[in-house]
């Protein structure tokens, strides 16, 4: 009896031990080899990119937070007069009509990616992770959309959705007056876009997951099979738990992709009329259509705070227990 369940339960513990942590640290001795010139070279190697990263990514991040408390329009110099406290946030949460639709669309994006596209990608990876004729060809087919930008994905799917596109033709709507406006109808277009975006995301998840599946110790499965587990049990009770690190990476990437969504909605209708997204509201308000820099920054801060959740998760999971 014990022999039957033990390998299944013990399996998840396996990959947690060992790895990089085992390498002994000898910090100081490694430095003594370096000459002064080496240390200068090293400082340059690290210093220049760090300076650029700080000035072009982290300073703007902090500046976004600062600007969000102002009503600056970027025309006159920024002074104390521009400070408006939380006014931008109050407007955003209460009167601005596009904020909540954008939040709903971002959440919808996330839900569809997490509960539909990601499981399909995992399902395909599991099907393809075996000795089988044609597995390479199948993998290539599912991966092709991943190499395309979401902007071009938008153009490709327009061929399916427009009034003279494939769908309307198949549904028998031949004249443009009776055609269903998949991309123009504010209730339909987000779904049309999500189908197209999922088409791309599935392949991405499949490839990440396949790489993870290949790294699973085959003896675990053999042991489970000998103990009488069927294919479904082996996956859900042995492989899936062992894949925990990959599962986290996949979830993090999925969340980040949903927050970054921009190109496809912008290409289709500039993120209007049913396709509002937080990322597009930021640019439309502060750069492409209006110059409400403070207000746009407040939206950016909301997006920043939400993004920090997956980013911190990713950093803690991949680097936390590691010695660099």
């Amino acid at each position: 009896m014990l022999g039957e369940t033990e390998p299944l339960d013990a399996a998840p513990l396996e990959p947690q031990t060992g790895g990089a942590a085992a390498i002994p640290r000898r910090g100081r001795s490694r430095y003594s080899i370096l000459t002064r010139r080496d240390k200068t070279v090293m400082a340059l190697m690290v210093g220049v990119p760090t300076f650029l990263c700080v000035t072009l990514i982290w300073l703007p991040t902090i500046a976004s937070i600062g600007l969000s408390f102002t009503n600056w329009r970027g025309i006159t110099p920024l002074t104390d007069q521009n400070l408006v406290g939380l006014k931008n946030y109050v407007t955003l949460f209460t009167t601005y009509p596009f904020f909540w639709p954008a939040v709903i669309h971002n959440v919808l994006w996330l839900v569809v990616f997490v509960f539909i596209a990601t499981p399909i990608g995992i399902f395909l990876a599991v099907l393809l992770d075996r000795e089988m004729r044609g597995t390479r060809i199948y993998q290539s087919v599912f991966f092709v959309p991943v190499v395309l930008s979401l902007a071009i994905v938008g153009f490709i799917w327009e061929q399916i959705y427009t009034s003279q596109g494939f769908l309307n033709s198949v549904l028998g709507h031949t004249s443009s007056s009776t055609a269903i406006d998949f991309l123009g109808n504010a209730n339909l277009n987000i779904w049309a876009v999500l189908v197209a975006a999922s088409w791309r995301h599935v392949g991405y998840v499949m490839v990440l997951y396949l790489a993870g599946l290949k790294s699973v110790d085959p003896t675990l499965r053999e042991a489970a099979a000998i103990d009488g587990a069927n294919a479904r049990q082996i996956f859900f009770r042995v492989v899936f738990p062992v894949m925990r690190p990959i599962n986290i990476v996949v979830v993090v990437i999925t969340v980040i992709e949903s927050l970054r969504a921009f190109d496809i909605a912008y290409i289709i209708n500039r993120g209007k009329n049913g396709l509002e997204l937080l990322s597009i509201l930021i640019t439309n308000n502060s750069i492409s259509e209006a110059n409400l820099l403070g207000f746009g920054s407040a939206i950016a801060v909301v997006l920043l705070l939400v993004s920090l959740v997956p980013i911190v998760t990713f950093l803690v999971r991949t680097m936390g227990r590691d010695t660099v």
Partner: protein, 301 residues
């Protein structure tokens, strides 16, 4: 005992007929998925090969009366695609090379010398890479407008609207991802190699140049493929930080073609197919590199 033994026997003597039947189901499922997956691209190609007039007369789903490459020729010239492809190369080539150079140096230091700052810096670079670009765009746009740049590199004397600016932001954004991948890769290279070189009196630079870079070549090749695709596919940076439509790389230039640029849906299809083709070809030719680049960063838990 019997409870353990019975299922084991079942596994070893599963009837051959059942396995074959399972294979048929498996391939049917995979083939159906493949057809659905390829369909949008094949449909775009099909539309691109047909004249608009035929689609109006016969409907989109109909047997093609005429097939030709005319739409491709029209798209190529009307949309001035060659110009935008050149713009893409002007941005992508330096951006890929410099990113790999910078991140391989960072990764070398991060992977080999454990000073306390390393973990923090690596986190800073990686986190920067993961941020949605829109979070920083408002201040970054103002910085680009305020930063002067030599007229040799910029038409208007600003970083804004210059290739330099676009290349720079790609380097800064992609360095995080590449450093993360490369430092993981370099940790797998034996420490003795670099330390022996240093003890023998080689400088840090020589060790990087002669020991680490050659050994990291597979990872660099994988990342080069991936980076080229990322940069080719960038829509956002050049859309916002490049004002002149004619100077935009191809993917951002797609924005110029929206709306009424093409009245002819089938020429639009041809244009879409042409723009999609380069990354598909890169992937088909270098698929191993491509997938390795993508998974190097994620499989290490």
């Amino acid at each position: 005992m019997s409870e353990i033994a019975t299922p084991a026997v079942q596994v070893s003597v599963a009837p051959a007929g059942r396995i074959r039947w399972q294979r048929v189901v498996l391939h049917s499922v995979l083939i159906s998925f493949s057809l659905v997956w390829l369909f949008p691209i094949l449909w775009t190609l099909f539309s691109a090969l047909r004249p608009y007039g035929d689609v109006i007369a016969d409907g989109a789903v109909s047997w093609p009366a005429h097939l030709s490459l005319d739409n491709f020729a029209t798209a190529w010239t009307v949309a001035s695609l060659p110009k935008y492809f050149v713009n893409t190369l002007i941005v992508a080539i330096p951006a890929v090379l410099i990113t790999l150079w910078v991140s391989s140096m960072l990764a070398y230091v991060f992977a080999r010398f454990s000073f306390r700052l390393n973990l923090f810096l690596l986190m800073m670079f990686t986190a920067g890479n993961l941020l949605p670009p829109q979070v920083i765009i408002v201040p970054l746009y103002r910085i680009y407008l305020a930063l002067p740049l030599s007229r040799l590199l910029s038409d208007n004397g600003l970083v804004y609207d210059s290739y330099f600016g676009i290349i720079l932001i790609h380097i800064v954004f992609q360095t995080g991802f590449c450093t993360f991948v490369l430092s993981n890769y370099m940790k797998t290279i034996s420490r003795e190699l670099t330390e022996a070189a240093l003890v023998d009196g080689a400088s840090l630079w020589t060790t990087y140049r002669r020991v680490i870079l050659p050994l990291a070549r597979p990872a660099l090749a994988a990342l080069a493929t991936l980076l080229f695709t990322f940069i080719y596919n960038d829509f956002f940076w050049a859309l916002i930080l490049m004002k002149t439509g004619d100077k935009r790389p191809i993917t951002s230039a797609l924005n110029n073609f929206q709306g009424s640029f093409f009245t002819d849906q089938n020429v639009l299809a041809a244009m879409s197919f042409i723009v999609a083709l380069p990354t598909i070809l890169v992937y088909l030719v270098l698929s191993k590199q491509f997938v390795r680049g993508l998974t190097l960063g994620s499989t290490k838990g």
